[in-house]
Symmetry: D2
Subunit: 335 residues, 4 copies
């Protein structure tokens, strides 16, 4: 999860979701964003949005690296209907499979690619425990695959997994741990799952983002953290994220903005507010949130159960996407 | 924890702490609050405030029942220094003992009073799990006491304990469960521990409140919940609480208030805002927080560890306060 | 769970299961046991055995109170096939419904009976946490039912639930806590779930026992513990149990017995062993198990996951058995 | 934890403890074991035994690699007296520091050595969770050390930590994960903590073993698992272990042995038993333990709490041993 002291970048509230970053850019430019393509597909229980950042211009416009970003939005994620959960697992599996393109990353025509699943985040902090939770429901097969005779390997692919913890728990940058394991295991693809921070509470636990750009923790924040992406790992990296918290700072900022949208103030007053000093704005937020400020997060009361459900949905989708013999019909056998 | 849909009462933000309720009243009346006495004691690591609501006038003025409210404020509660934790356990034990007045509630001159400790809250929701956590570190002795020969009972008092869960988990009002056990066990005192919601983030995990007025869940909220107090239980009830969350609604409200304190708006504009319709204010907050609204809570990232530490501090204090043979010097043996 | 210091009763190893107690009796008498009827039904994935202890003669013969005992045996309980789990939930639901006979315990022709589910056991000790685990997956509806208009109550019955803990955690006898709640809530049926100790490791997590005789903890052990049954609670009590541990003492005893079955010793030697002093036998066991002895339990390595699965299976079956609108087809929605 | 299908090696029950292996060898040879030196030190609350396997002859005699093995035996480990726990932390710290010899492994005269703590074992299986538990209480400092100015580094050493999980959870051999991290982080010492299986229940949670020979999982068992030692990691490896389970197989074997020690059988009969076929013995054990056999473990009922306490004691000792500014007097500040 973005562990940012300051959530503002260039006078703009930050979001881990390309979807929100794109919406903000549209709002600011008042129209189409150059260098970014967007395609939507509305299903019964979910809206899929496929965004592609095609070039540097697009990357700059929305503040996200060149690559593909797929979001699946559904209120079913936070509902408790297990049948809808299974449907969302399938939809997610389909998008993940198309992005992973496993047929094309075989190390040898006769060999299945090895996939390394990384569950990022802190298992001691509920809303940040999504990655470790997914690993609890994952089919880990690499050790079985290695010992099985070839005829029994059909229908499975070698999958290994690790929850590397967070810097405060290990004293080692997460990317370094992953890099070390990658060099020993020599996988062909990394899939990293992480809890995200959202731009607004409406996003909480209602969106899964899949991207092929990896994870670049806190890039805008002056922290020199190693990224987890194709460049650093030398293999493709798919990142999967779900927003599970909103920073309290974001909420307060929203409160201010919303206040000015109503009919309390005249247009002239609002205009004045829109141009007040950024420093004054931050000082005000500091007064409200006090010393804890940067570490305050907003989450729904039932977040513990939400994380369990999300972990099952995502693990189920990964299991289906990676193992050819797992189909929607027998998916529930593998959860 | 107050499970309120709406946190406002009479156009005023609600706080579980008498200390904050009193401060608000002072702010509003601009001076002393009639019917309420306040006494402060500054120690090295903590500030003790002893508030007494002496009559109905005082009760009405601060919105709290007649009775005594002691708060111990210390940043040491959320620090990680175990020696300071031990000191705070002792300070808390002293205040608890003076309020409990165990010598005076003996059922018989030769019999020690039986104390029933109730750990309120939901063990599945971290910030609400304070009560159940305390019970993990409590010396439970009633069953040993009953079987011990008289000469071995010295230095201990019979203590029993229960975490009754919350209505959503049990289908039974918490007070009903407690009442049922009270009628079977016939204790002479109830001590109930609960996580509280705070008025501001500065309060999070820095205050312990002890009161002899019991717990009246959601009294102002139209919900007909049975209270846990002398009136319903027929024995004295001491309530112990620590603020562990702030409702997101409170934060947003604060944001608005703070905004108007700055020099962005003219005095006339601020005055206008102060008199806007309450409905308009709520609508604005609703826009910001979205459908989750009432269930959104703000807590610090390390809340899981905070709750563990607070559980130990409070349990330690209760152990010292209740058992004559436990002293500050051997306290650590019983934690 | 039977917390017995000594597992032997009348020179006979004790089992919580009527099925095993009956088998032992058959073995000893060498034929039919008077006063006990037994009926078996073999299904695809499970063997159902319905034992009825019909009179005092039968009760004495197998050491279990008069009443009905149904056991469902299936290796599927400890497998990881979720479809088989769902089947076992249904089978279990059917047997539970027939024993509970809910139509006949209505408090009034127009009123559904209130059912009180009790999750016995210690949540801090994995193999003993079955009862509390079941409650995590139960549909608790009493509070909703009370507030719902009559037309919305159809298809649900009012269910409430409590995990009362164990004597060492609360200082109160479990039956006293339950009795207190029963007097407040006035339910029409108690269903109590408990982890059992088994006679042999083959039984571990492969049997569910349902009985209408309630629970009489440690009756033969000199401990004066209040039972949880129709007599003490004044309403019917159904007990549900699954063996999750074997006492180490049992294992050692088995080892000795088995040793004597082999061809190592001559018939004469075996006969001699069979008649050695019981005290000598216990001394030998004490030498092997050392001071921990009575508290040593044997459980399979994956017991944590087993308890989770068993909790879901049993909760699912209870949900189906109690609520008319839950059917095998939509069962998964309620798990 | 040794995950062995078969616990017997060369017709001898296996123990992870050098102390027990040595005792067995003494028993068998009837006197001193060549190539092994043993020194005992009796303290108030603990017995320290320092065993050195000096050459191949000694290694063969007791079945342990050449190197040093220190055991600290104390019933205080499983008691609940926190003061005794602190004393044991100190004793353990002293032995660990003398074995680690940190002054001699500096990478450069002006640089403190980096220490990598590995918490082996499965966090989902209570008795095997010792390693991960220790990490919960460890001072992890490497990331702080790197960013601190030189004058603030005094008194601390850079410590990093990882719980790599087990093969069944990750699909990767534990030693491979560690090796990968070692190559990235370049530490100067590994300290690996693991739960051990004991030879008898009397050992459960009453012994800490420290050795400089690393960990060679299942070497005698035909499994080709990579060891974690100086040879594989190219840096010194210290292993810390506490027995937390006894395999059920061991218990049954003990039962048989004990049976023959009593006065039930004549010396001639016993002698005959001692020479029965090993296969017959295994078959008998199989009959007793059934299909679960190899995975059945015996542990005391309160094992969950034991593991928590042991985790704190060991973490406290490591903190004192590694950081010069942590002394027995301020130790409690760092726990």
């Amino acid at each position: 999860m973005t562990n940012q002291q300051v959530i503002f970048e260039n006078n703009r509230v930050y979001s881990d979701l390309a979807l929100d970053a794109h919406s903000l850019a549209v709002e600011q430019t008042g129209g189409e964003v150059q260098g970014v393509s967007v395609q939507e597909e509305q299903l019964e229980n979910a809206l899929i949005t496929r965004i592609e950042v095609m070039n540097e211009q697009g990357a700059k416009a929305i503040g996200k690296p060149i690559g593909k970003y797929i979001t699946i939005e559904s209120d079913g994620l936070k509902g408790q209907n297990r049948m809808v959960h299974d449907q969302l697992s399938e939809i997610f599996a389909g998008e993940l499979a198309s992005l992973a393109n496993l047929e094309n990353i075989r190390p040898h025509p006769n060999l299945e690619p090895t996939i390394f699943i990384v569950g990022l985040g802190n298992w001691n902090a509920t809303p940040d425990a999504l990655g470790p939770q997914v690993l609890n429901h994952l089919m880990v097969t690499r050790h079985l695959y290695q010992e099985a005779p070839p005829e029994l390997r059909k229908g499975l692919r070698p999958v290994c997994a690790l929850s590397p913890g967070v810097l405060g728990l290990t004293g080692v940058q997460t990317a370094e741990i992953i890099k070390g394991v990658v060099e020993m295991v020599q996988p062909n693809l990394i899939i990293a799952i992480d809890a995200l921070s959202a731009r607004s509470t409406a996003r909480l636990a209602n969106t899964i983002q899949i991207s092929n750009t990896g994870i670049a923790p806190g890039s805008g924040l002056g922290k020199n953290r190693m990224a987890i992406n194709q460049e650093t790992m030398n293999i493709p990296v798919i990142a999967i994220g779900v927003p599970t918290v909103v920073h309290a700072i974001t909420i307060v900022n929203d409160a201010m903005e919303e206040l000015l949208k109503g009919n309390i103030f005249s247009p002239a007053e609002r205009e004045r507010f829109r141009h007040i000093d950024e420093a004054e704005k931050k000082r005000t937020i500091g007064n409200i949130l006090g010393p804890y400020m940067g570490s305050l997060v907003v989450s729904p009361k039932g977040v513990d159960e939400l994380i369990l459900d999300l972990g099952r949905i995502i693990a189920g989708g990964i299991n289906v996407a990676l193992h050819p013999d797992i189909t929607p019909d027998n998916l529930s056998l593998y959860l």
